[in-house]
Symmetry: C2
Subunit: 229 residues, 2 copies
């Protein structure tokens, strides 16, 4: 099947059994009340875990619909080991935009963190769950993005490589890396990282993205654009 | 001089004579009333034509200030021949965001056009002038972006290469091109180009950016991120 002008729905893996799946909640509402789908119509549904199903509606009830799976596309998450660690930004719209664009560009793992220069210190990752879900469906991707929150130092302690972005770093990031091991990309907030944060990542793992000053969300989106899968 | 944590101002080339320049209007207001600059303070000012001046304030009057140039940085616009042709989008915030990000990433020439699938047909390039100016200053760039408006067919008639982006194109855009000749990058609106528009650019000049569906502004920003200068 060729996916391009379709509408993609999401249902959690627990609502899929053998060749039948259930669509409920907002997804059900959108399909039936907004898009006016009914029995026998064809839909595309992802389980957020690598599959996109082509299904045919069997039954529409008050709050959910049942559909039979008639076809399956299976995807591999090539960026499964990549974690984008995104600082809390002053402007929530810019932060939301960064998440949306990253998901469209294939990033599936996020950590929202408070940096020393972050003006707000309270990470509320749940606020972005809807943005992540919508962007996944919009870009016809089959992996529901994960978002965690953490402190900067806790990220540094995690197993895996750390790559830190800093405008003044000597090396330019080219987007090539070993996608087989866990890698944490650290982006600075408005005003950048402070000296202690900078120095918690070795100099050879600090990169710049352009010679010019970029807003936080621009650096994040440019980096996601450069990843060569 | 090293530019990183500075505030950059803009004044038009006509207000610069020998080693003295004038700052007026919003730029004056921001410097004096918001940033509280006064006589003898140092400022950075671009003429939007490739120069950034370090200046010292000589005199502050009611609506303008005069400053003496004490240092000059000269830049080359490597993307001078590149034109980003951006369709009118339904959502003005997404359009504004696309312009802002492109400027931060170094694009200086824009054509706002109405595509057959554009819902709104009225191009109002002047609405984005402030966004372009702010993004230039924010990213410490020295070229004031130009924005024109045009119809799709008029762009096709212009001298120079045309590169059209389409999700279903066979070739993937890698960011490499000949920066010495005029090149027009054409991006589709929500719903993409129609068949007539697609076919007005030869197949070898049609490129995709990912295998996935991208929103218009995401395709535009990804492309700007990929340009290898």
């Amino acid at each position: 099947m060729h996916l391009s002008n379709i509408e993609l729905y999401y249902t959690s893996p627990e609502l899929i059994k053998d060749d039948v799946l259930i669509l409920s909640g907002d997804e059900f509402h959108h399909s039936v009340n907004v898009m006016r789908n009914s029995v026998d119509d064809l839909l595309y549904v992802t389980n957020g875990a690598g599959s996109i199903f082509k299904v045919q509606i069997l039954k529409v009830r008050k709050n959910e619909l049942t559909a039979r799976i008639i076809n399956l596309l299976q995807f591999e998450n090539k960026l499964n080991n990549i974690w984008f660690c995104i600082p809390i930004l002053k402007n929530p719209d810019r932060l939301k935009f960064a998440f949306e664009k990253c998901v469209e560009l294939g990033i599936t793992n996020f950590i929202l963190f408070s940096s020393n220069h972050s003006i707000s210190k309270k990470a509320k990752p749940e606020k972005f769950q809807n943005t992540l879900l919508s962007a996944m469906k919009q870009s016809l991707r089959a992996f529901l993005p994960k978002i965690l929150s953490s402190g900067f130092n806790d990220i540094i302690e995690l197993d895996g490589s750390k790559i830190l972005f800093d405008q003044n770093a000597n090396k330019k990031f080219e987007g090539k890396l070993d996608f087989r091991k866990p890698t944490y990309f650290l982006f600075g907030p408005e005003g950048g990282f402070d000296q202690t944060e900078l120095e918690s990542v070795s100099q050879e793992n600090r990169f710049s993205l352009t010679e010019n000053r970029l807003r936080s969300e621009t650096a994040i989106i440019k980096c996601a654009s450069l990843l060569k899968i």
